[in-house]
Structures are given as C-alpha cells and as structure tokens.
C-alpha cells in the first residue's frame, strides 16, 4: 500500500518538497530506534548528579532549590552525526525520457525528492543536515545544523535550486572539504557523467576526514538502455555537441560500454570504501532510502 505513494510519478504530483519528504519518510520511519546518545535537545531523559567540570547551564536550579543538591538535566535524540547532501544541478540532470508516450520524471526532480527525503530523515534523527548544490561550481550552500528551522532552510534551498551548466566534481568537492571539520556522512546525488577514475579520485579525499561517503547515481532508464528505431541526431545537453547515431550501435555497443562504465564506477567506489547505489528514475524512492538507512544503521 505504501509503495503506491512512493512511485516517483505520484510524488511529482505532490506540491511542496516538505510534503514529499514526509510522505516518503514517515511511512517507514516508525519503529526506527532512537539514538543511543544523549544530548541537550528538547525531550527530557533523566537527571544526573553534577560533577565538577559539567556545564553549569544544564543544572536544574529548581531541583537545587528544593534539595540543595545539583543535578543536570539530560535529553534524548542528540547525536553528533553531520549529514551533508551534495546535489548535482548540472544540465544533464534535466533529462527525462518517454515511456509509452508518458514523460518520466526528470533526473533532477528525482534527485530533489531524494535529497529532501534524506534531509528530512536526518532531521528527524536529530542529525545536523547541510546542503551543497553544485554544477561546475558550488551554487548553493546550507551550513549543516540541527537547529530549529534547518529543515525549512534545507527544503527551500533544494526547491529553489536551478539547473546550471556542466558537471565538474573537482571544485565543489574541494569546497566541501573546507567545511567538513566534523566527522559525518556525505551523500552525493548525481548522474556522474564523467570518467569513473576521475570521479573517485575527486571524492575519495572526503573519506580521509573520517566521513562516510554515499554516492547515489541517478540515471534515466533510457540512458542505461536507449532504444532507437532509426538513426537520429543526438545533442549533448551540456555541451550542445551533436552526433548522428544509428540503432545498431545503440543496440549493441552502447550497452556494453555503459555497463563497463557502471561496473568500473562501482568497483572503484567500493575499493575506496565508498557506498555506491545506482538508481534509475523509475525506482520507488523508498528503495533508495532503505539503502541509505542500511548504511546509517551501521553508523549510528
């Protein structure tokens, strides 16, 4: 029953990223374990006896007035994990193919939903969430935080992200490295149209700071297995170059090269300790989130 709502085509009809994120996340988040760490967020957990060195701001002075003993208030939900979402807004993300005369969801829309859902999920988990929208440079940056209103800021940034030009991972990832001082989780959502070696070499340094790195590789089904009945002139969305291709090539050589590319990327990612997930835009969003949560379980 839940699956019905998570169809990307259905989600595309929902207005507002917050609603999309809630629809995706709330359905299966129920029963998820609470964070084992204590913090200073809103939900009270227990009192603890004061010991020298504790922060006096957390002393419950009412209890002290009644008992003349100092206790600290402790709360649930606070973790120290920082989630940074990298959203690719290059022009190639605009692509959407037709299936049976109906246009599929654009890769960028799908990526937005995924980013919003991950962000919402992290927020529910009391994680600090940040966002970087990039194409060949950083276009938008939301500082990771778990403060109130962070989700709104995040969703607004995702919603207002505009498609840029070409993809270049080098500059945005170098930028990310400047801001990632705490260990955390970096979620990169992109179509990764570049050489696998170059991609991995660019993103791998993030791992050195103790970050966990997850790559969501978003592709349209037509990109993986294009179908042509007759020769056509193809135009590159990013560069504008045009090339005439025939059905024979698309039917035989292209799938081989594409499969080799995906396999190469996956192998290299695993070799670098990076989690890699290939998702096509017809796949329900909750499946992608399950992958994400499976990783998060291990980290929390």
């Amino acid at each position: 029953m839940l699956q019905r709502y998570l169809d990307p085509a259905v989600l595309a009809g929902i207005s507002g990223l917050d609603l999309v994120a809630k629809t995706v996340v709330d359905g299966f988040i129920a029963g998820l374990h609470r964070s084992p760490d204590f913090g200073f967020s809103q939900e009270f957990a227990e009192y603890r006896a004061y010991s020298p060195g504790d922060d006096l701001r957390h002393v419950d002075w009412n209890v002290f007035a009644r008992t003349e003993r100092m206790f600290l208030k402790r709360y649930r939900g606070e973790t120290n994990c920082q989630v940074t979402i990298l959203l690719d807004a290059s022009r190639s993300m605009k692509y959407a193919s037709l299936r049976a005369g109906v246009k599929l969801l654009e890769k960028f829309e799908y990526a937005r939903f995924l980013a919003a859902s991950v962000g919402y999920l992290a927020h529910v988990q009391r994680d600090a969430v940040g966002l970087i929208v990039f194409d060949d440079d950083v276009r938008q940056f939301v500082q990771p935080s778990s403060r109130q209103g962070q989700l709104a800021r995040l969703l607004h940034a995702i919603g207002s992200a505009q498609l840029g030009t070409r993809t270049d991972f080098a500059r945005p990832f170098a930028h990310v490295q400047q801001f990632l001082h705490r260990r955390g989780l970096v979620v990169a959502i992109s179509d990764f149209w570049d050489e696998p070696e170059k991609i991995i070499n660019t993103v791998a340094p993030l791992r050195f700071h103790g970050n966990e790195l997850v790559l969501f590789h978003i592709l349209d089904p037509e990109e993986i297995r294009p179908k042509l009945k007759h020769p056509v002139l193809l135009e590159d969305l990013e560069t504008g170059d045009a090339l005439e291709v025939g059905p024979d090539y698309v039917a035989h050589e292209y799938p081989e090269r594409m499969d080799a590319h995906l396999e190469d990327l996956k192998t290299r990612a695993q070799g670098a300790g990076i989690d890699y997930f290939l998702i096509d835009t017809t796949r329900p969003l909750d499946a992608a989130l399950r992958e994400y949560l499976a990783i998060r379980k291990g980290r929390m």
């Binding site: 692509y95 149209w193 990109e223 007759h230 020769p231 135009e235 090339l243």
Partner: protein
C-alpha cells in the same frame, strides 16, 4: 488517350518534393537531446544507411498524390463512342411568332407546318415546342406526349416582339449540352433577314444538332410608319410640330396618305411621295390636344403585306407652361433679359418667367415654381436660405449664377460649396478663359458645343465639397457644378448670366444651355421616355421607395401587376404594342406608347447560302435526323477521365492521412515532451 492540357504534366516534377522530404529533410531535422554523448561515436555507416528511403509506403502515397494531381490538371481523356443514343434524338420545333409573322397568314401556316413536323414523330419520340421572339419561350419540356405538343403549338399567339435567331442558337446550344443526345431543330419562320444577329458566330450550333428550315413566307413589299418625332409635353398646341417618317421595303415608288390621329379622331391627312425602297417625311403643324395625356397615332394607307406596322402610336401630355422664378437684386439687369430671351426662344414655350427681389422671394410660395434662379446675389438671409433648402429638399431645383457680388458670401447657398475667390482673366497675360473640360453627357450640357469660342473674363472659384464638377475652365476653375440635395438638385454656374463676366449670352450655345438646363431642372429627375419599342423595360421605382405601390394598365385596361409585384417590382417589360398607363411608386403618372421594332417591317428573307452556312455549323448538314443519329454513333468523342482521377486522389489522400498519422504519432509525442520541457 490524350490530354486536354498536357502542359500541366510538368507538375509531375513536384514528385521531387516528397523525395526531398523523405531523403534529405528528415536526415537533418529533429535533433534529440541526450544527457551525454560520452559513449557515442560518429559512424559514417549510420549516415549512409540513413539515406535510404524511409517510410516506403508513405513516400509512395505522397508520390501518387503528386502524380494524380498533375494528371488531374492535365485532364486526360480517352476517345470512345458517344453515349449510346441508339438513334434517339430530341426534336425541337421552334415557331417564330414575331411581329413580322402577323403578315398575311404566316403564323397560321407556321403552326400548320409545326403540326406537320410533330405528326411525323413516332410514338415515344421526344420533342419540345418553343416559341421564338426576342426571347425563346419553351412551351413544353422535352416530352413524348403528342397531345401536349400539339396543344402547345395551338396556343402560340402572334406577338409584337422582334425575332432573334441568335437567341434561338444560344438556347439550342444549351439544350444540346444538357440533353447529351442529338437534337433535330425545326425552325418554322419567315426567316427574316433582320432577325440575324450582328455576328455569325452567335449562330453556331452543337455538332450533334441538325437544323431544318421551314419557311412560311416570302419577301413582300411593305410600307411602314418608321418613326414619329413628337414632343413629350405640349404647352402651346399651335407651336407643336410632329414629324413622321414613312419607309418602304422592297416597294416601288408610290404615293401614300399619312394621317395624324389624335384620340381616335383623324386630325390631319397629308400625302407623301415615297421613293422606291426609300423614305419620306410628313410634317404636321399644331397638335390640338386637350389637357392631360392624349393618344396619338400616325397612320398610312393599308394594303401591303404587313398591315400591323401601318400605324405608329405616340403619347403626348398637354400642360400649362411652368413658372420659373428669377431672383435678382437688380445689379445685372441684362442677365434677366438674356435668360428670359433664351427661355422664350426654346420653342415649345414650356416656361413662364417671373422676377422677384430676394426680400420678396423670401415670402413667396416657392413650391409653385418649376425651378428657381439666383442671379449673383450679394447676400442671402438665413431665413431665405432655409426656405430655399426646404424647397430643394422637397424636390425643387435651383440654378445659381455666381458673380462679383457672390464673393461676399462664404459659401454657395444650399449646395454649401466654399467660395474661395474670384478668378480674373487678364492678370497673367491671359486675356480670357475658356472651357477645357465638360461632361457633354449631362442633360444640361448635351448640345452646347462644348462652349466653343465662349470667353470667360471672370469666374468665381468654388471648392466643391460634395458637388460634382460638370465643366471646368482652362485654369481648372469649376464652371458648372451639380449637387443632389434631398430630393432636389442644385446647379451652380460660377459666372454671371449677363455679358459682362463672359460673352456666353452672345453665342449660339446660350439658348440650348438654358433650355436644356430648364428642362433638366424642371423635370425633377431623369424622366423615362414615353415612346418605347416593344420588349423595352420601364422603371417603376428607384431603390429608395419600397413599399409604395406602382400600377400599370395594359392597352386593354387590365392591371399587369399583382399586388405583390405592385409593391416590389422595380420595372416591367413592355410586351405588346399600344398605350400603357403607368403610375410609378413615386406617384408620377404617365402614358407610354409602345410600338413594334420597325426592323420587323423589312420582310427580306435570309439568302439560301447564309442558311446553308448556318446549318453547316451543326453536325449534319443534310437535315436528316436519321443520318444525324448514325453520324453520331460513328463519332468517337473525347471522354474525360477526371472524375476517376479525382476519386482516386481522394482515396490516396485519405490513406496517406492514416499512414502518416501512424508513423508520425511518436514524433508528435516527442515534440509534446519538448514543449512540456520548455513549459
């Protein structure tokens, strides 16, 4: 097989269009967007393979459409036997009942001859009876009922129309096209030469038409009253002159008694010597008729072949002279003198002129006058101009002469044309002006000899706003202008009527100019003639007075118009000789005299060689119906293939639509996707 328009076959070259669309255009269009071309390589093979014909079926259909279209325009035909007529034919019996058939017993003989033709028809044979006058009158449809055909012949009555063989040929051509089987036309007529059309080409017949002549009369000597010239209105009976022309056709020299009959009483009789095959004129002085309409007639002695043309009817109306008001402020005494002299000299004393000063005229009953003349008035009071305007709006007429005094006025009274300045001759070396442009077709300027040799020394320059310029001087100053105001009209002469500003009153053009202008202005509009030839049309109403009833009484005193026709008919055709009493929708009553066309009086017969030539334009010059049928059987006629090609074209076009829709639908969806992206 052949082509009626083979040059259209060049249109087959348009086959290149679908070839271009399928081979070339498609190769270049519709680039498809793709995220990355990382894994694509340029292959020559792809390009070469692309240049094969795609959508073979669609291409073939489109080529077929172009070829069929070119064929359709080229109009191919095949020769094949004419539709099996099996010796069938339609017999057309044309009986001439024109005015000349009144001679002797021609019409009775013609009818007898027609019955003889019908009697030779076999049961089941199809025939039609038509009556020939100025128009062809089909008395029956194409039928095989012998009784009805005979009854149609019996019903033919003599008419006063003029026969037209051109009309007969046109009708027969139309019938041949519609019937598509051979025609055998029997023309029963006196074969009068004057019935021939001006061009022989108008007589041509369809190749499947056989023409048989049945002549029922020979050329015979005939005298006739060819024409009568009498005035339409009589003001002074003693000064009226009636001229009659007596003509003889194929006649020896003879004396003929010519009588003038007024209201069925012989008024005068004269004897004239008519030369052989010639004409003579008889003139009657004085026309003593009572007030109102009178029926006149000029008669000659009878005794010739066609007695019906020995009388010529005409209508006259006796009225009192009409009053004309000449309004003058006394500055140009000679203008009045010249104007009065011209009116009196016009011959028939139709007008009586009165003279008043402007201040007197302002209180005069203007409606009693046929028209008014304003002779160079220096001032026109507002009240007087209102009276003038009211008079003209009600149908009155105004003749305005402008002169030096008129330059004080800002505009011409009633016509409202702006008065600019006086135009003087002699200032720039020109000693006088003359008329350069003139509308000689206008009733007022018809016989003025273009004002030749008239010198104009001064004219008032008027800028016409709504007026029509009828004459101009050589410096382009308008000389005569006319404007319709309400029901009446205003005629402006931009010079004076005396011999100071011009010397027109001293020239021969003066009297006809004034008399014609007076007749035109007093007529209240272009009056229709009262003496007409049969088959002429008489106007019953102008376009603006619908609803008012008109009335026509024929020579027997019977009403010709039904109630509906009386309120709607715009004109009616005068179909017979005699006097017609007429009341038009505007209420004007008149008596119209109609007479037969006198070309019918010439009973000369068409020469045999001309008849042979005419018959030869048809398919069979033997005049034998059986032979005509046989000849047509042997004839192979071109038979157009265009209906088949048109049907084929429609079919191919429909299949093309279905196939194209099937092929192009996915592409349309792609475009739709692109549009959505753009949105």
């Amino acid at each position: 097989m052949g082509f009626f328009a083979p040059w259209f076959l060049a249109g087959i070259a348009a086959v290149g269009l679908p070839v271009w669309i399928h081979l070339l255009k498609r190769h270049k269009t519709d680039p498809r967007l793709f995220p990355s071309l990382m894994f694509f390589e340029k292959r020559e093979q792809s390009s070469v393979m692309h240049r094969r014909l795609d959508y073979i079926l669609l291409f073939a259909l489109r080529v077929a459409i172009v070829v069929l279209l070119a064929l359709l325009f080229a109009s191919p035909f095949i020769r094949r036997a004419a539709p099996a007529s099996d010796g069938k034919k339609v017999t057309v019996v044309a009986v001439d009942h024109s005015f000349s058939m009144r001679a002797g017993d021609r019409l009775a003989r013609a009818k007898e001859e027609a019955r003889g033709v019908l009697g030779k028809l076999h049961p089941g044979d199809q025939a039609q009876v038509i009556a020939l006058g100025a128009q062809v009158q089909a008395l029956t449809q194409v039928i095989s009922d012998a009784g009805e055909l005979r009854a149609a012949v019996d019903s033919i009555q003599p008419s006063d129309s003029r026969a037209s063989f051109g009309e007969l040929a046109r009708y027969v051509r139309t019938l041949a096209e519609s019937q598509r089987i051979p025609l055998e036309v029997h023309l029963v007529s006196d074969l009068q030469k004057s019935a021939m059309p001006p061009g022989f080409a108008d007589l041509r017949l369809d190749p499947s038409t056989a023409l048989v002549f049945h002549r029922v009369g020979d050329a015979a000597p005939n005298w006739t009253v060819e024409n009568v010239a009498a005035p339409r209105r009589v003001y002074d009976p003693k000064r009226v002159r009636v001229q009659a022309t007596v003509a003889g056709f194929d006649t020896p020299e003879a004396k003929r008694n010519v009588s003038l009959v007024l209201n069925n009483k012989v008024a005068q009789t004269k004897t004239v010597d008519v030369p052989a095959n010639g004409r003579a004129q008889a003139e009657f002085l004085g026309l003593d008729v009572p007030y109102g309409f009178s029926r006149g007639e000029v008669r000659i002695d009878g005794g010739d072949a066609l007695s019906a043309d020995d009388r010529y009817v005409f209508a006259v109306e006796r009225t009192d002279p009409r009053k004309v008001l000449f309004i003058d402020d006394g500055r140009h005494p000679r203008a009045e003198l010249y104007f009065r002299a011209a009116l009196d000299a016009s011959g028939d004393s139709a007008f009586q002129m009165e003279t008043l000063r402007p201040e007197q005229a302002a209180n005069a009953p203007l409606g009693n006058y046929a028209f008014l003349v304003l002779s160079d008035l220096g001032s026109v009071t507002a009240g007087f101009e209102d009276s003038l305007r009211h008079y003209v709006n009600g149908g009155g007429s105004l003749l305005i002469a402008l002169g030096p005094s008129s330059t004080a006025l800002p505009r011409v009274p009633v016509s409202d044309d702006a008065i600019e300045a006086a135009s003087y001759a002699g200032r720039e070396g020109e000693r006088f002006l003359s008329v350069s442009d003139i509308d000689t077709g206008h009733p007022a300027l018809r016989s003025v000899d273009r004002f030749a040799a008239v010198k104009f020394y001064q004219a008032i320059h008027v800028t016409p706003s709504k007026s029509r310029v009828l004459a101009r001087l050589n410096d382009q100053t308008p000389l005569v202008l006319e404007r319709q105001v309400g029901e009446g009209k205003v005629l402006v002469f931009t010079s004076t009527f005396d011999n100071v500003s011009n010397d027109l009153p001293l020239h021969a053009a003066w009297v006809p100019f004034i008399s014609q202008t007076a007749a035109y202005l007093s007529g209240g509009g272009a009056e229709q003639p009262v003496n007409l030839a049969v088959d002429s049309y008489v106007e019953l109403r102008a376009g603006d007075n619908k609803g008012a009833a008109a009335e026509v009484l024929d020579p027997d005193g019977k009403r010709l118009l039904s109630l509906e026709e009386a309120t709607t008919a715009k004109n009616f055709a005068v179909a017979r000789e005699g006097f017609f009493e007429l009341k038009t929708a505007s209420g004007r009553r008149s008596l119209i005299a109609a007479h037969a066309d006198r070309r019918e009086s010439d009973l000369t017969v068409i020469p045999q060689e001309t008849l042979d030539l005419w018959r030869a334009t048809g398919g069979d010059n033997q005049g034998s119906a059986g032979a005509a049928g046989k000849a047509n059987e042997d004839d192979k006629k071109p038979w157009g293939l265009w209906p088949i090609i048109l049907l084929l074209l429609l079919g191919v076009a429909m299949v093309e639509s279905v196939v194209a829709n099937r092929y192009l639908r996915p592409r349309a969806e792609v475009r739709e996707g692109i549009k959505q992206e753009a949105a």
